[in-house]
């Protein structure tokens, strides 16, 4: 692909609100995960809960969209002046030429979960539930489009934990084909009973903090997050460049990765080909790295097969928790921060590195200029994505 300018980006996770909080957390190796409950869930788990979501208010015109997921999205849109940058892009290109392509896995399902606890004697749902604007999977895209007064193509990509990464690929295609001139991409997912109890049912939710690449790792820690970026057709001095996108399927199993990471390796190779880069030109890889036994083992094999054992890699799930449909977007933003600051973040909570894993996993942050960095995202249903970004030049 022709490199696409990333002209603005931001994120909100349990680490804090905006780029400065995240840059500091990566530098200092702090985690947003705590042993805590969420809403009415009292599970033995470490969760990455975002502060101040409940206090967030939506404008009256968007009141029907009010739910935790859209409140978190609103917080992210207002961070780092992102919404202002989008308004400038809309003024430049025309609102119809700015798309909204964003990822989520569960959207505002928490609203419906709460509503089901309040059904009346006939089983009817309470009148306050606005299903299309909150729980419907497309709610996030419609909310972001309305909040930013955009009129271009808008949809949600929902491919489980690769959703937020695949949003970048979809936008880059539409810009290259001249269907649009710019797009808001990214993703937002918030904690809910479905994913908390669902991952527990699958025995993938750790009672310990998640420990990607550790020999004792026994599951993931859930988090929530929102991250958005603005891609434009051209820009004189963008924040970074999207150089390539790779997408693939496992075609293997609904909830377990291919044991040798065959599909994951396909996605990484496709991203390299799309970016016209050789593996040794990539300076850092932000792993999917969930901390489950199977994911890390399969991803390690795939990374080593495609890139060899020397490229520095780490997972930032130990910082933020696994933000599911937003993870690809959150980690794209963390990868962009790594490029901006010349800081390779290290993986947290890996105290006894798994000797069976061969990749060059970072146990300490490294400070040095970076030119190219990749971000992996893999999801249920065997959905794989790899994004490659280049530093501002």
């Amino acid at each position: 692909m022709k490199p696409a300018p990333v002209t603005a980006y931001t994120l909100v996770t349990a680490l804090g609100h905006g780029l400065a909080a995240h840059a500091a957390a990566l530098r200092e190796g702090t985690t947003g995960l705590r042993p805590q409950g969420f809403e009415t869930a009292a599970l033995e788990a470490w969760l990455g809960v975002v502060d101040h979501v409940d206090e967030q208010r939506l404008p009256p015109a968007l009141a029907r969209y009010d739910c935790r997921n859209n409140r978190l999205a609103a917080l992210a849109l207002a961070s780092d002046g992102f919404d202002e940058q989008v308004r400038r892009a809309a003024a430049r290109h025309g609102a119809q030429r700015v798309g909204v392509l964003v990822g989520t896995s569960t959207s505002g399902i928490l609203q419906t979960e709460i509503a089901y606890r309040q059904r009346d004697g006939h089983g009817a749902l309470p009148a306050w539930l606005h299903y299309p604007e909150t729980h419907d999977t497309a709610s996030l895209a419609r909310f972001v489009q309305a909040a930013l007064a955009l009129e271009g193509p808008a949809w949600v990509i929902s491919t489980a934990c690769s959703s937020g990464a695949k949003a970048y690929a979809a936008a880059a295609r539409l810009i290259a084909l001249d269907v649009i001139d710019a797009a808001v991409v990214g993703g937002c997912d918030t904690l809910c009973m479905t994913t908390l109890y669902g991952f527990r049912a699958l025995e993938l939710l750790s009672s310990d903090v998640c420990r990607p690449w550790d020999a004792r790792r026994n599951g993931l820690s859930l988090g929530e997050g929102a991250s958005f970026a603005l891609l434009q057709r051209d820009d004189d001095a963008p924040a970074a460049w999207l150089l390539g996108c790779g997408e693939s399927s496992d075609g293997h199993h609904m909830s377990s990765p291919h044991p040798e990471g065959a599909g994951a390796a396909d996605a990484m190779r496709a991203a390299l080909a799309d970016a016209r880069l050789q593996p040794d030109q990539v300076d850092y890889i932000n792993l999917h790295g969930t901390g489950t036994r199977n994911n890390d083992a399969a991803e390690d094999l795939a990374v080593c097969r495609v890139f060899g054992r020397s490229v520095p890699v780490s997972s930032t799930k130990g910082h933020t928790g696994h933000a599911l449909g937003a993870a690809g977007a959150v980690e794209a933003a963390l990868t962009l921060l790594a490029l901006r600051d010349g800081l390779l973040p290290h993986g947290l909570h890996c105290e006894q590195p798994d000797a069976a894993l061969q990749a060059n996993y970072l146990h300490q942050p490294q400070q040095r200029p970076l030119s190219v960095a990749a971000s992996n995202s893999f999801g249920f249903g065997g959905s794989n994505a790899c994004l490659i970004f280049g530093a501002a030049r």
Binding site: P132, P153, V156, T159, A201
Partner: protein, 268 residues
Amino acid sequence: MTALTSLDVTIAGVGVLGPGLRDWAQAAAVLRTPSDWTAAATVVPAPNRLPATERRRAGVGIRAAIVVADQACTMAGIAVDAVATVFTSASGDPETCHAMCEALARPERLLSPTRFTNSVHNAPAGYWHIAAQSRQASTSLAAYDASLCAGLLEAAAQCCSGRRPVLLVACDMPYPAPLHALRPLPDVFACALLLAPPGGPAGWPLMLSTAVRGEPTRCGNAELDALRRSIPAARSLPLLEALARDEPCTLVLDGDSLPLAVRVATRP
């Protein structure tokens, strides 16, 4: 603002399953003379392509999506492991969602692992790629009443930018009570289009643009048109009617906030 370009693709295969529509062969005959269409509940057969374990675990939406995907690939004569896929659905799997919300409203909150796995919006895509033994790229979209148009635009964009065949599958299912009161979809509707770059397999040349003038095209039968308006995936019906007639025409596909202008030519 620059002039909008159109995306040019070929429709090499079609699949359909809906009220009174069993498969493309039967549907094409009915849609040529829409007054012949009679309402009848959608019958979703068990897809042979799914391995036994997956067939047991697959709900109605997954089965419907796989049945129409197979129809389109068979008609195009294309190997199922050679096509990238775009799945689009407004509803996802509302039966699974309802069952999980009920279970989560009970004190013990016991979820079935299979139900949770099947609740992801890309479950039909995951099952299809397992059944097809395909590692090709796949995406799954939702855009409320614009879901069909979003899927068609994404599939055409992938086909044009990758110069490779792309299978579009649109599928929606009705919501059980009490969600049905908030989103009343009447029945299952699924359709699939196998899009190929021009110069590839034979089919109907299609030009797609987001520059739309005029009102959405209606179906040739009032009852069928009511179906079109009531299920997001059924917004494909005017296009399916045009393919059935095999006459050149220009349509506006109703996409809510994302209408599409579509020009269909006859098959060479």
